[in-house]
Amino acid sequence: MKKVEAIIRREMLERVRDALDKAGFHGLTISEVRGAGTQRGYTESYRGVRAAIMFRPKVKMELVVDDESVEKVISVICENAVTGEVGDGKIFVIPVEDAVRIRTQQKGQDAL
């Protein structure tokens, strides 16, 4: 099993999520994050003092899937999260050694 962690633009979430759902990936967890990378923050001001806003709002999606599905998930996300502008985000693939469904205590693939 792998965890596919994708950092994407917030405004793309719905499209990505719908596409994943249609592709059969129903289970996922999201959280609100902030990021910096090639795309930087803003330099703004407040009450006359300049301030650097270091990060941009992003959303992180985490899907744990079996090894074979990784490529599929990556391609679905890439297709639907892309705008072509700097800041579209990244996908990371992380190994998962085990999974448990709390409700049933099923383990491994069955837990997903």
Partner: protein, 483 residues
Amino acid sequence: MKTTGFNMSPLMRLSAVPRIVPKRWLAALAGAVVAALLVPTAAGASELTLVDIEQAVDTLWVVVAGALVFLMHLGFTMLEAGFTRMKNAANICAKNMMNIAVGMIAYWAVGFPFMFGDGNSFLGYSGWFLSVTDADAASSFSSLDWAGVSISTKWFFQVVFAATAATIVSGAVAERTRFTGYLAYVVVLTAFIYPVVGHWVWGGGWLADLGFLDFAGSTVVHTVGGVAALVGAIVVGPRVGKYTNGRIRVIPGHSMPLAIAGVLVLWFGWLGFNAGSTLKAAGVDFASIVLTTNLAAAAGVVGALVISRVVYRKPDVGMLGNGGLAGLVAITAGCAFVDSWAAAVIGFVAGMIVVLSVVGIDRLRVDDPVGAVSVHAVCGIWGTLAIGLFGTAELTEGLGTAGLFYGGGLNQLGVQALGSLSTVAWVAITCLIVFYGIKYTIGLRVDRMHEVDGLDISEHGMWGYPESVAGSSYMGTPGNGAS
């Protein structure tokens, strides 16, 4: 002269057709208008009499005071929303909105007639839907004849009181009560339960005959609302997770700034609540009521601070707010009957009482998220009794006797206790019937899962704070993969 269609264009017409018109809001104005037209600045001779002006001043004060009391509904909304969780914030706002709306309709239709209509010493029964002209008002609402203002004015000032009594409950039963069940309760309270007590005390009923004193409603409004809140909180039961494994758990409200802003709005409105209860401005030193009201509120905050630093280590912010409200509730009955130093004492004691009462009621496993029972019922009773202690001979002369501390003996205290007790009994019994009635018919409490999800989403289909509760980007169009 050019005829215009402006706001007061009727006046224009009058100058063209200068005869007596029966028009409601122009009564007695004709002459003045002619004069005003002839002499635009303030030098002309008015044909309004001194009594007309007196009535205008009285009306102006009562309408403005009533508007301040109306704003107390904003205060209650903010207070209750602040003391509850984010997931129920829109629901509490909706309940408060419905409270004033439904309460107004119900009180217009039957509540005001039950309260002030002519009837017997238990209940009034005339003037349904306010369908009286000012000229006839005497025959329908003779208990209010002493006040010179129009019947619309009287209704407005009274309806905002009725809605206040009702809204006290919404905080105590917050975060778990079905929307429709709450609506049903509001109708019954504003249409009947509250007006009955009001009739007893202010509508020429039996408590009035006994010399029971309640200037602006520690009993009529606050004890009624507070006892209804207690019954409601008991019947609906505690929130999921409030008392588990034999422990009392903390479920903090989501916004103290909102709650404290609500307290300040309530304090502001209370100036109208108490000082406007003169129903009169001319010849009445209503500012002395403003003085006692403010001192009691201020002393209530200080009382709550003192006791909370003694009992707990740190001053609880919400408790400071409750303390101020406790002082206000307590002085409501006696604001016209006690000296200013006594007002400060009454408020200070109320502020201490409320802190202990909130803790005590929680220990009794009655879940009252906002402290409504302690503030309104407990301090309402304290304030009512306090007249029997602090009422001065001078200020209560001819209405009752002086309080215990002013050499009046226990007489007035006894009457006050009787009035409080009868009110508690009446409200407790009728509200038990009402809340159990709702419970076994349309339903009083939401499902457990709905409660956990929050009433905003389960009762209204959307959170009150979608971005804070559910994140910025959670929402899609149905059918796009969502079920």
